[in-house]
């Protein structure tokens, strides 16, 4: 299933009508509420800086014409005050701009931390069952870029909008006091640049965000296909066809980008047009006013400059709103994901598994158990009955798709078990909290994940209180010490994303060391030797034998040597 279908699928899950743009914006705003002080401070500073700048130009305009008039008339005037005001405004503007940048950036980073934490807390209960369709890393990086898109909401959309909203009335009143007709002219021009143009831009770019996202994905796919399949493509002479494919997607993307750029260029030149036309009309209006003696000579230049400088309040808006549709659709995707209910609701009053374990041995029993994944009709497990008593080692084997890995997921409490029963130490699994279930389990599988952190941190995840000696011991038993010692920084070697830098066998041994450290009573091994070459496989297997001692073991494998070590084999079909 393609990425796009999955997203649609997620959307169709929510029964309620999709939230309107306004609802999305309000929700975004409410998310940012904890940091309103910083955000507000940033807005105030931006406003002060803006007004200081406009006032600077206006005062300077008034100053030079008043001085010229006084000079011509040969009267004296108090020039110290306006000269001082000009210097003062210049300083306010400069310092204000610096402070504004610091404060707004600080607010942005606060929001960024807030958003990530909020989103993580929403996502955490959903994982992994609710995120099945997000498994591919394409979609995850999409998630990530969505969050990054929201990072800019405050700085590039919210701030200029609010500043304009406050500044425009102030400027209007300022002009109105001197010359109402001019004020009305400027207000309408401000509305065109600050309201009409942004609306036009939003409408024009409404779909382009998602189109570009998709085109980018197609381009990456074509490039990666071409690079990874290079031998084959060249040998079958299909090299040029692939190049054509890459060029095609590259051009498609470029065309969409040019379209957006055209819209930007048009809105930009439209705002230049509006500003200049209004300057020109102001000139004539002021000329009329002067000849009718509606304004004094000394105000002419001041008002002309004020009506020009006023546009600084709205000029960033058309460009800012180009981002709006992308931001809204990013927010929409994130909210729809965050609003999902966990696939397995935690029991309200969970039975205490640890208390039960003090009285009873830890047995696992599936009785006439049926299971199908949520929203799928196909039954994965059918009439399964299976018992593992404490200390027993059993194996489950069967062709792929027979539900072996499903059992692992169920025991970790990732899915509800409505049909038939699963009991752990005599307690219905549906009554156990997921955390308590997982406390009893260690899982080693080929899908186990290593984090981009040091080997030590990865190990400590399994047992945060472990001492260095305990880590060392676990690595020794897991046959991992040998290769770790060869690494330049030993246990403190930093692993790249998804444990890059380690071979499959090395990663598997670290997972075994993790399981040793966790020392849970039940051990689940899901194809623990899959994907390893024969020699590594042997090394890993030795470590696994160490791990299996004194544990209740559920083993999923084809490996005959591992199968030979268990008490019973359940064959699924």
């Amino acid at each position: 299933m393609s990425a796009k279908l999955n997203i649609n699928h997620l959307h169709s899950e929510s029964q309620a009508p999709p939230p309107s743009d306004r609802q999305i914006i309000f929700r975004l705003l409410s998310l940012t509420r904890p940091h309103w002080r910083w955000m507000g401070a940033g807005i105030v500073l931006a406003l002060v800086t803006l007004l200081a700048n406009i006032a600077l130009l206006t005062t300077a305009g008034w100053f030079i014409s008043a001085m010229a008039a006084a000079g011509i008339a040969g009267v004296s005037m108090n020039y110290f005050t306006p000269a001082g005001v000009i210097r003062f405004l210049a300083m306010i503007r400069t310092a204000g701009r610096y402070a504004e940048r610091l404060v707004t950036h600080n607010a942005t980073f606060l929001l960024l931390a807030q958003l990530r934490q909020w989103f993580y807390q929403k996502l955490e209960p959903l994982a992994p069952a609710g995120l099945q369709s997000y498994r591919s890393s394409d979609l995850l990086s999409r998630l990530q870029s969505d969050i990054e898109q929201l990072d800019n909401f405050y700085l590039s959309i919210l701030l200029p909008s609010i500043v304009a909203l406050i500044a425009v009335p102030i400027l209007f009143i300022g002009l109105y006091v001197f010359y109402p007709t001019l004020a009305l002219l400027i207000l309408s021009a401000l509305m065109i640049v600050g309201l009409l143009l942004p609306t036009w831009v939003v409408r024009k770019t409404a779909t382009s965000g998602s189109v570009i996202t998709e085109q980018r994905q197609q381009l990456t796919t074509a490039i990666i296909d071409g690079l990874q399949g290079m031998r084959e493509l060249e040998i079958y002479g299909a090299k040029d066809a692939q190049l054509a494919q890459v060029s095609y997607y590259s051009e498609q993307l470029a065309n969409s980008q040019l379209q957006i750029n055209n819209i930007n260029a048009q809105s930009q030149s439209a705002s230049v047009l509006v500003i200049n036309t209004s300057l020109w009309l102001s000139l004539i209006l002021l000329g009329i006013a002067l000849s009718n003696n509606e304004i004094p000579q000394s105000q002419f230049v001041m008002l002309l400059l004020l009506s020009l400088a006023a546009f600084e309040a709205v000029q960033p808006l058309p460009m800012a709103f180009e981002q709006l549709s992308a931001t809204l659709s990013a927010a929409r995707r994130l909210f729809s994901l965050a609003d999902q209910q966990p696939v397995r609701a935690e029991p309200e009053e969970p039975a205490s598994l640890s208390a039960q374990l003090a009285r009873q041995p830890l047995s696992i029993e599936f009785k006439q158990f049926n299971f199908s994944y949520p929203k799928q009709s196909q039954q994965v497990l059918h009439n399964l009955s299976l018992v593992v008593n404490q200390g027993e080692k059993i194996a489950i084997s069967g062709p792929s798709g027979s539900g072996k890995s499903t059992i692992v997921q169920l025991l970790q409490g990732f899915y509800p078990c409505p049909e038939g029963s699963v009991h752990i130490a005599g307690i219905d699994i549906n009554h156990c909290s997921g955390e308590e279930l997982r406390q009893q389990l260690s899982v080693v599988s080929q899908h186990s994940y290593l984090f981009a952190a040091s080997i030590r941190d990865n190990l400590l995840l399994a047992k945060p209180s472990a001492t260095s000696e305990q880590l060392q011991q676990a690595c020794d038993i897991a046959a991992a010490s040998e290769f770790i010692e060869q690494l330049p920084q030993g246990l403190d070697t930093w692993l790249g994303e998804t444990g890059r830098g380690l071979s499959g066998g090395q990663a598997r041994r670290i997972h075994i060391a993790q399981a040793l450290l966790k020392n849970a009573p039940v051990l689940i091994l899901d194809e623990p030797t899959e994907g390893l070459d024969p020699i590594t496989e042997q090394q890993v297997m030795r470590a696994i034998w160490q791990l299996m001692q004194d544990k209740t073991v559920i083993l999923i494998t084809h490996n005959p040597r591992l199968l030979a070590t268990v008490d019973r084999v359940y064959q699924l079909d």
């Binding site: 010229a68 210097r87 400069t94 994982a127 079958y236 090299k239 030149s269 000329g287 406390q439 981009a452």
Partner: protein, 588 residues
């Protein structure tokens, strides 16, 4: 790729970026011309506006008497509107042309460098360079370069207008202008380092979040997932603190610029005001100076804003330069002609090969393949199996020794004509965009439909074709979605049967296959090997026990060769491999 880059690398990247401008033709130049002409219009507009205002306000001229200058003013304004549109459009069209051309050039270069280079540098990272890296150049060409040109001309033009009419304002400009770049450089150097650190941290934090999301299930298993929320918040907060301390300095450079600009504008206003008062200056000149003062500093501010675009562009260029500067294998020109009996005689003669900055991958490797049959190449991982095959496919050239085909040196042969003799099946056969039929036809574009279908049937493609909604015409989408590993392998074998190449090479063909498909594959290979040369790179050893000759590689050289039975007798390493394989081998 993340090492701090040396000065020479940086300047090489900058030079290279400038050289790539030619791809845009005249577009970037046009954009710059438009923006500079618009700048001239602005100067004229300021002069004209000052003149009109001076006439109306101080010469008591009625505004209706100023019709001609007013109309000229309007014309100048409209010209600026058009010019601003073209400035933007030309710049982005130019940048777009460059991006398209560079992406194509880099992709072509990678195909010349061959698959082993791609694997060494990681295909995912290279694809990032080709995609996001190339995109990062847009702002460099469309924003930064025009800003540089504008900054080089506009302040001078304004100065040229201002100096003759008022030396004092000109002096203020002249004194402050050099200070702007000076401050920018002084603070900018520090800020650049800090800024680079900032971007590194940002991407690290971003990657951390992605990493946590990917590993959520694992965190849950250790019941550590809830605690992680606090960690995410604290990492983001740490990032905020460190970045803010960086920004305090980084913003200083723009602070200095703003300070200088604003203060000199204020100074111009005040000095002009006083001289107007004393009657030393005409109002039209004074007003023009006031209008031009902010415009004098604007280009510097634009340049400061485009600075980040420059840094990103240079960083991307450094990565591209690594690809551009890598040297591909030399290409032979001699056409390869197959012998009438189609039998190939392949001879490795004391082959040595080392990847750049790595230990010897092959050394003194000699072997012969002189008749049809099934040959296997085995050995522990890192023994040089893939390197050896890449030299035969023509993707790598041995640094020592030579490979001859029917007595001809492979290096001298034209790669395409040699590759016509080859068929290749990798672990994950690649499917191309197109129908199922086209995917098979790829192997021999001249084949007719009947031949394609016959080959497909032989490969057992007909076994699953009924499951496909559109049968032969089934479109095969991105990365062959919906086609299983076994089905891919059958499609790949159909290509082999269609091409009937004298030499077939397979890389670990039985990986990821179910038992049925594995058995079928072994049978088809044995069958094909009756008349052709088949070379299999194998990790699992059961499937190649019937091979005519098994070549056992160890540490880049031939450790032993012979049949399964011979090797069992003579080679200890082989016995170890077999023991490990049998012990661990999967029964399915």
């Amino acid at each position: 790729m993340n090492k701090p880059s040396s000065k020479t690398e940086l300047s090489a990247a900058k030079t290279w970026l400038k050289q790539q401008r030619h791809y845009a033709g005249q577009l970037l130049t046009l954009s710059m011309v438009c923006s500079i002409v618009a700048g001239f219009c602005l100067i004229a507009q300021a002069a004209l506006l000052a003149h009109v205002v001076s006439q109306i306000v101080f010469a008591d001229s009625h505004w209706q008497q100023q019709q001609t200058p007013l109309l000229a003013l309007l014309a100048l304004m409209l010209a600026r509107v058009l010019l601003s549109k073209y400035t933007e459009q030309f710049a982005f069209r130019g940048a777009s042309e460059i991006k398209l051309a560079l992406r194509k050039e880099l992709y072509l270069k990678l195909t010349q460098l061959g698959p082993s280079y791609v694997e060494q540098q990681h295909s995912a990272e290279l694809s990032e360079v080709l995609h996001t890296g190339v995109e990062a150049l847009e702002s460099y060409y469309a924003r930064y370069l025009p800003a540089v040109a504008f900054c080089a001309i506009m302040p001078l033009a304004i100065l040229a207008v201002v100096l003759p009419v008022d030396w004092l304002t000109g002096l203020i400009f002249l004194v402050t202008a050099p200070l702007v770049p000076l401050f920018m450089i002084l603070i900018g150097l520090k800020a650049e380092q800090l800024n680079q650190k900032h971007w590194q941290q940002l991407s690290r934090m971003s990657n951390h979040f992605l990493d946590i999301l990917q590993g959520l299930a694992q965190l849950k298993l250790f019941n550590a997932s809830r605690a992680e929320a606090a960690a995410i918040a604290s990492i983001a907060d740490q990032y905020r603190r460190s970045t803010m301390s960086i920004l305090k300095v980084a913003f200083l450079s723009s602070f200095a610029l703003e300070f200088l600009a604003t203060m000199s504008i204020a100074m111009v206003a005040i000095t002009v005001g006083f001289r107007l008062y004393w009657g030393e200056l005409d109002f039209s000149v004074g007003f023009m100076l006031l209008l031009l003062a902010p415009e004098f500093y604007l280009p510097f501010r634009n340049l400061g804003q485009a600075y980040h675009a420059k840094m990103k562009g240079v960083a991307a260029a450094q990565q591209m330069l690594q690809i551009v500067q890598a040297t591909p294998a030399r290409r032979g020109t001699k056409k390869f002609t197959a012998r009438a009996d189609q039998c190939l005689n392949i001879s490795y003669q004391q082959i040595g090969f080392a990847y750049p900055e790595q230990r010897q991958a092959l050394q003194n490797l000699s072997l012969q393949i002189d008749s049809p049959g099934l040959y296997a190449i085995i050995g522990p991982s890192g023994a040089g199996k893939s390197t050896m095959i890449d030299t035969l496919l023509g993707f790598l050239q041995p640094s020592e020794g030579c490979i001859t085909i029917n007595g001809e040196d492979l290096v001298q042969l034209e790669r395409a004509s040699w590759q016509q003799q080859l068929a290749w099946v990798p672990q994950n056969p690649q499917l191309i965009y197109g129908s199922l039929l086209q995917n098979i036809q790829l192997a021999d574009p001249n084949a007719n439909i009947a031949q394609v279908k016959a080959a497909a049937k032989k490969a057992g493609v007909d076994k699953f074709i009924s499951q496909l909604e559109h049968g032969w015409q089934q479109p095969i989408g991105e990365r062959g979605a919906g086609i299983s590993g076994g089905q891919r392998q059958r499609i790949a074998m159909a290509r082999v049967f269609l091409k009937q190449a004298p030499l077939l090479i397979l890389d670990e063909p039985s990986a990821h296959l179910d038992a049925d498909t594995q058995r079928w594959l072994v049978d088809s290979l044995n069958d094909y090997a009756q008349q052709h040369t088949v070379i299999v790179i194998a990790h699992r050893l059961q499937s190649i026990q019937q091979a005519k000759t098994i070549f056992l590689l160890n540490q880049g050289t031939l450790s032993a060769q012979g049949s399964h039975r011979e090797l069992l007798q003579h080679s200890r390493l082989y016995r170890e491999l077999i023991a490990a394989d049998e012990g661990a081998g999967n029964v399915r």
